[in-house]
Amino acid sequence: MENPKSIIKVEELQTSFYTHKGEIKAVDGVSFDVPSGKTLGIVGESGSGKSITSLSIMRLLEDPGKIKGGKITFNGEDLLAKSESNMRTIRGNRISMIFQEPMTSLNPVFTIGDQIAESYMIHEGLSKKQALRKALGMLELVGIPSPKDRLKAYPHELSGGMRQRAMIAIALACNPELLIADEPTTALDVTIQAQILRLINGLQEELGMSMMLITHDLGVVAETCDYVAVMYAGKIVEYADVDTLFKSPKHPYTVGLLQSLPRHDIDQDELNVIKGMVPRPDDLPEGCRFAPRCPFATRLCEEKLPSLDDIDDKNQVRCWIYNDQWDGPEVNVKDDYRTAQSD
């Protein structure tokens, strides 16, 4: 599977946390790239390692987290080889990030205007006055009403949706090449979520930036992403373009996830469930990490970890079913999941 020119390439990234209980592999050999000008969605449930992946790219991990191995290439530059001061010139300038909860990522004692202006003063060396003028432009761009007054407002004076707009204004201030949005709308009500997603999509087109969207919401993925990587227990289990992923998902986890989603737009009888729960990161299964919950799992799955392989020119899947070594009966994962599950 060849992708067009990519803005960022992550190869075999390994991030672990070293606790008194031993090493916890939060991200374990993750590779992907974000095609220039496109949006890559990373989906997964709690503990899948999706947020740690983005923090690793930004080199924002806190102790005891460490990047153990792998390579991150951003526009041809090796990010993991950069010094901390070099990273600072990249963060918030060429790669920006939006977080889930704007109230905790905005500074409560500075005005919105100051916080946007800071980016311009640090990265572009503007004076405070010039920076504030540009900040005003950003607030207009993200659709905050009466931006002049809002420049002087503190975060607590804004509603949740407005705060997220302010966050976006800060993140986009220096016209980044890559925007990493980590659950940007999860804390918002649906009508506000719709506003923010439309805003992000529009700005992406306007500014031509590339984007990584980290989310647990498959609906958000379907509406905003071009490519999708599905993560489970620290590994990517499936990668495809968005249409392919939703139309013909191949990995049993992806299929299970899609079938367990209660939909508001169609009638469903009983929801399909994925039995059991996500394995603890300090106690991962030896073989395929999804094997204990997978209705198709065989001995091979329990013993050996499958690799992420191209199975046609559209999907990359980490599953033995699509390998020559497969030792189970022939299955069509999408059609047979429900029956296999109930056995």
Partner: protein, 337 residues
Amino acid sequence: MTTELLRVTNLKQYFPIKGGILGRKVNDVKAVDDISFYVNAGETLSIVGESGCGKSTTGRAILRLDEPTAGEVSFNGKDLLALNKSEMRKMRKDLQIIFQDPYASINPRQTVRQVLNEAMEIQNVLPKDQREDRMMELMDTVGLGAHQLDRFPHEFSGGQRQRIGIARALSVDPKLIICDESVSALDVSIQAQVLNLLKKLQRELDLTYLFIAHDLGVVRHISDRVIVMYLGKIVEVADKKSLFDNPKHPYTKTLLSAIPVPDPTKQKEQIILKGDVPSPIDPPTGCRFHTRCPFATDKCKDEVPELRTTSDGMVAGHEAACHYIEEIESGEMKAKD
């Protein structure tokens, strides 16, 4: 035959705002403002809406966890608001609640056994010597193992803790369970497990649910009837099918169109609302949605619309609080930008 289990009439819940040096009441947050509805025995009625619409407050007011400002709540023919404290406590045997975050609603220093035992003790459900068996049975019912009875809440995962919350509610054989965002904090795969469990329990134990949620996918899956609330008022009520297939209130339509669909090939028309939900301290006059409604006229600003059914296109029991249901339906009124 359907029998009515719960009826809420003209319920109001105002929370006072105190201010000034004397701490006098300066205003109210009108969290729930004059709503009426009923729940039939054995059905699931859902209340949906965004943050601050009053859906959780309604649930709490019914149980008198917060004392309602005005209105009537009648359960099985008894007026709940007329009961004194100890009578109400006895009544709660029949009315249980499951909260969003089971970790915050279960005592972290009690084992599951203590949690369940305390509930049965307070409501005097079974003689002491039979409780052990009942607890085992409950654990099995909610899909946990009997060997986990002596564990503490922190030893369980989120989905399992929610099952403990369900077991505790079931331990006193309730008739009505209020589920307040009970599956919102769970991952999709676990959420599906808990939803299926709730449905199964309802079939087997003849339970009635008042299901409070913001996720319309979940609501469509579990409900028989649905109430949509906005800023303390009911804007639409209908059976599930009518509400999702034939919504009448502009707010319901917006809400439905705003949810992302996990299907990239589905082209849909999205109605994007302007602005935020206004403050419930000083809600808009007339129809509370008029400040954001694309159809609003002067009449909407002045007159509060009542819940009503139109003669055509709305099945019995489907009501919406909008002045212009017919005009919007016929296309006579167009959305303004």
